[in-house]
């Protein structure tokens, strides 16, 4: 029960001066980053045109193609955290679709979109069942799909030409994406890269990007925040697969010859992912950097050393990849960030601000908003919830207490859709007054039930502000509005000084407050709080009690699992005591704590007898 004091409160407060220095540096950074990016992108066009050598053109076109592929991959592999090693599927679909259509007289500009369409369908169909796979299993499944596609492309030789491959008919001009000179090809490759970067950049800055990263970091917390995790991931694979296919069509036209082994290639799929990792996985421009650094190595090795250096560039790739993984896991972007970004410093003067605004009159307790009837749940032979039923009224605080293992969290999981009860039901009254029986966590979030987790579930790689924004996006798709809500909520929770800090840097007290802030940003009507006061110090408990009362006074109904009796007594209008899955007592807090059954459940019969 005792914890180190520094764990209990957020004491890591740097001096106030850090703020000014930080903002000056950030202003410089705000200008430096876009300038550097513009120079990099301009270089991709200017260098080859200035030199005019066909081989240099070839290197830069290849950079654009791979940077584009890698950026598109990053939407799934980086943002969504689904490490696909089968992106060759989409690349191959785009390539084959384009070339086959050119064969029957359709311009690759149309074939490009046809390929993207098919790739999107394939992406959705193969990804949907794979989402339940995690970590390496997802990667293995994508590889298996890739192999299946390659073998099928070899098998159906009437369509694909089989192992002999397909040549594109030599029809020149813009309509056929085929030119005698190199500049138009570079222009198209560069254009595709810009489109892909634009899409990736847009996604990262909007609701979908936040939701994807939240899903990657903590799937259950994202679902509790009302994110439809399946839908956002399907959106990500669709966009990523579609863009990959479009680049695939162009690359096929550029190569003028395609075959299954080169199109549905594991090596290519790995390379795409590798560039993103080396550049900085999950960042918008990391894949571009990775491709710009590594593609020239391959092409120069091929161009200068020829067959004598067979395998040399692959060896370099492999070694670079191992070194990056070992010493630079955040890639080049991580390295850049280390030198340019000041450590996330609090923006305001130290000391969490007291959240309690002068309290308004408490609104009267209204009618029922949640009804729980006859809940049953068994885990194997263990009967964890046995005929639990109660109701929660509007604007009321209901304390849920009971010894360890009583089944409190299990009840919460059924009240928020994370567990299906074996029997019984949970009904919630919608704002329009009708009663609904939500099923999934998404349904519960939609109807206005928000929850926190006993074991905190922050989106570790996101800042405090971004964490809260994920909750705010439940109400509004607008980034500006979500940011405003997040700031306001952070202010109220005393988290304002840490808005820019990454969630992983917060102490346990801070993380507990962040849990509440994230769910409050959803503006729930019913709030389920699972031990938000455990492990925080006395001052913070006092503050948290005030906070919960002020939340209640805005008309929110609260069910709180709590072990801190001081809080239970001060807050609860009613208390329910759970023991071994059953409700053993309920009523006003003062009555319940004197109930002999309750004392027995907590302290045992002997204690009761000794005091009798």
């Amino acid at each position: 029960m005792t914890r180190a004091p520094e764990e209990q409160t957020m004491t890591n407060i740097p001096p106030a001066g850090a703020h000014a220095a930080g903002s000056a540096a950030s202003a410089r950074r705000n200008l430096a980053a876009p300038t550097a990016l513009a120079i990099l992108l301009a270089a991709l066009v200017v260098i080859p045109t200035a030199i005019g050598n066909p081989f240099v053109y070839h290197v830069f076109i290849t950079i654009c193609v791979f940077a584009g592929l890698s950026t598109a991959w990053n939407i799934v592999g980086g943002y969504a955290g689904q490490l696909s090693l089968g992106h060759g599927i989409f690349y191959g679909i785009g390539a084959y679709c384009g070339v086959i259509l050119v064969g029957v007289g359709v311009s690759p500009w149309i074939g490009m979109f046809a390929g993207a369409g098919i790739a999107i369908i394939v992406a959705v169909v193969i990804s949907y069942p794979c989402f339940r796979l995690h970590g390496p299993f997802f990667s293995l499944a994508t590889i298996a799909f890739l192999e299946v596609f390659r073998v099928l492309a070899l098998h159906f030789r009437e369509v694909t030409g089989g192992a002999t491959g397909l040549m594109i008919p030599l029809k020149f001009g813009w309509a056929w994406m085929l030119f005698r000179e190199r500049l138009p090809l570079l222009a198209i490759a560069f254009g595709l890269l810009l489109v892909t970067l634009g899409v990736a950049w847009w996604m990262r800055g909007h609701r979908i990007g936040f939701q994807l990263i939240a899903t990657r970091e903590r799937e259950s917390a994202a679902r509790a925040a009302g994110v439809d995790t399946v839908r956002v991931r399907l959106a990500a694979v669709s966009v990523s697969g579609g863009l990959t296919a479009m680049i695939g069509t162009f690359h096929a036209m550029y190569l003028t010859f395609i075959e299954p082994a080169a199109m549905f290639s594991l090596t290519l799929s790995i390379q795409i992912a590798m560039f993103a990792l080396i550049g900085g996985i999950g960042t918008v421009f990391g894949p571009l950097l990775g491709a710009m650094l590594l593609v020239p190595i391959t092409e120069l090795a091929r161009g200068w050393l020829g067959a004598s250096a067979l395998g040399l560039h692959g060896l370099v790739y492999g070694v670079v990849l191992m070194l990056v993984v070992l010493f630079l896991p955040n890639g080049l972007m991580g390295l850049l960030a280390r030198y340019t970004r000041p450590r996330a410093a609090p923006r305001a003067t130290p000391g969490p601000t007291a959240p309690a605004a002068p309290r308004a009159e408490r609104p009267p307790v209204g009618e029922d908003v949640v009804r729980v009837e006859g809940l049953q749940k068994r885990f194997g032979g263990l009967h964890v919830t046995n005929d639990v039923g109660f109701s929660l009224r509007e604007g009321e605080i209901l304390g849920l207490i009971g010894p360890n293992g009583a089944g409190k969290t299990t009840v919460f999981n059924m009240l928020s859709g994370f567990l299906k009860p074996d029997a019984g039901c949970v009904s919630v009254r919608a704002p329009d007054g009708t009663w609904r029986d939500p099923g999934s966590p998404g349904d519960f979030a939609a109807i206005g039930v928000g929850r926190t987790f006993q074991i905190v579930q922050p989106f570790a790689a996101m800042t405090v502000e971004e964490n809260i924004m994920v909750g705010a996006f439940h109400r509004s798709a607008d980034v500006g509005e979500a940011r405003a809500v997040a700031r306001e909520t952070a202010e109220r929770m005393g988290l304002a000084p840490w808005l820019d800090a990454e969630a992983r840097d917060l102490t346990i007290g801070g993380l507990k407050r962040l849990e509440v802030a994230r769910v409050m940003a959803m503006r729930p009507r019913v709030l389920l709080l699972d031990e938000v006061m455990a492990g925080i110090n006395q001052t913070d408990v006092r503050r948290a009690i005030d906070l919960m009362l002020s939340i209640r006074d805005t008309g929110v109904s609260i069910i709180a699992i709590e072990h801190v009796m001081q809080a239970v007594m001060a807050l609860s209008d009613r208390v329910i005591v759970l023991s071994s899955g059953q409700i053993i007592a309920q009523g006003r807090p003062q009555e319940v704590v004197r109930d002999p059954t309750v004392v027995e459940a907590y302290l045992g019969k002997e204690f009761l007898h000794a005091h009798a």
Partner: protein, 295 residues
């Protein structure tokens, strides 16, 4: 009927081949919980070493065991120590996958630089001789592989079940932190496990080299099949992997004969995907029961 029996025998022999390649991977996957994409390249390097020992030193292929097995044990242990160990703390599967993918890429291309793209054929020393067992004909080398695979599975089972080190390895696999608290040197055991896994694939390499051509890409095909087998058998279950390997061998053989030889991979990977999606704990693996876990 004779054809059917021949196809069946081919399937079982193929299964033995897949089993001997997969045993080491099962051990590494099940205990260190790392997906070793370089497993196939360990096999490939073992095959080249066998080739060099047989052609260069004039050894019998089986005698190459005394050279290949220790070298691969060392390679495995070093991979664990230098590449995987530093990444275990990160707990991030992405990073570990990329690490072994990097190793795999580097090893394939190193072999390409050293040996070139040409195929190396290890002299068979009579291992490609057919033997007739009833109505079916199989190769001597295939029978040896099946026998050694079965023996290896039995030996590893005994080792894990009966010896002190084996028990410690199983404890680490169940719960790393708890094992560490019981005074088990987890890092050493991981290196040992990785080494044993690599040594197993070294054994496989020695037996496979006389029967199959060796090239820098030899490992790629085998590693994919090995992953199929490991998942099918249930993570870390060595007996499961053996059964899974035989099953995959049969599917491969029957599809090849009765459907079309180029659809074998589609059938094998199709089964793999179905198992992965519908029954992720594998055909023979036990479901992990986690009764009370906060989501």
């Amino acid at each position: 009927m004779d054809v059917f029996l021949q196809v069946l025998a081919n399937g079982i022999m193929l299964g033995g081949l897949f089993a001997i390649v997969s045993v080491g991977l099962t051990l590494i996957f099940g205990i260190v919980k790392v997906v070793n994409f370089a497993h196939g390249e360990f096999l490939m390097i073992g095959m080249y070493l066998t080739y060099l020992a047989v052609t260069g030193l004039g050894m019998h292929p089986f005698a190459a065991l005394i050279l290949v097995v220790p070298v691969l044990f060392l390679m495995g242990a070093l991979t664990q120590r230098l590449l995987i160990q530093p990444l275990l703390a990160a707990g991030d599967h992405h990073i570990q996958i990329f690490a072994t993918v990097g190793l795999s890429t580097a090893l394939i291309n190193l072999a390409l630089l050293v040996f070139g793209a040409d195929i190396a054929n290890t002299p068979p020393h009579g291992l490609r001789m057919p033997v007739e067992i009833g109505p079916v004909r199989v190769l001597v080398g295939q029978v040896v592989i099946l026998g050694v695979a079965a023996a290896l599975v039995g030996a590893l089972q005994l080792f894990l079940a009966r010896t002190r080190t084996g028990r410690a390895i199983r404890a680490v696999a169940q719960n790393r932190a708890a094992a560490e608290l019981m005074g088990i040197d987890v890092d050493r055991l991981y290196a040992l496990t990785f080494g044993i896994g690599a040594a197993c694939v070294g054994t496989a390499a020695v037996l496979i080299a006389p029967l199959y051509p060796t090239s820098p890409n030899s490992g790629t095909y085998f590693v994919l099949i090995a992953f199929v087998v490991v998942v099918l058998g249930g993570l870390g279950s060595i007996r499961g992997a053996f059964a899974g390997a035989i099953l995959i061998g049969l599917i491969d053989s029957f599809t090849g004969f009765y459907v079309s030889s180029d659809m074998r991979e589609v059938a094998v990977f199709g089964v793999f995907l179905a198992i992965l999606i519908l029954r992720p704990s594998g055909l023979f693996g036990r479901q992990l029961r986690q009764s009370h876990v906060s989501p």
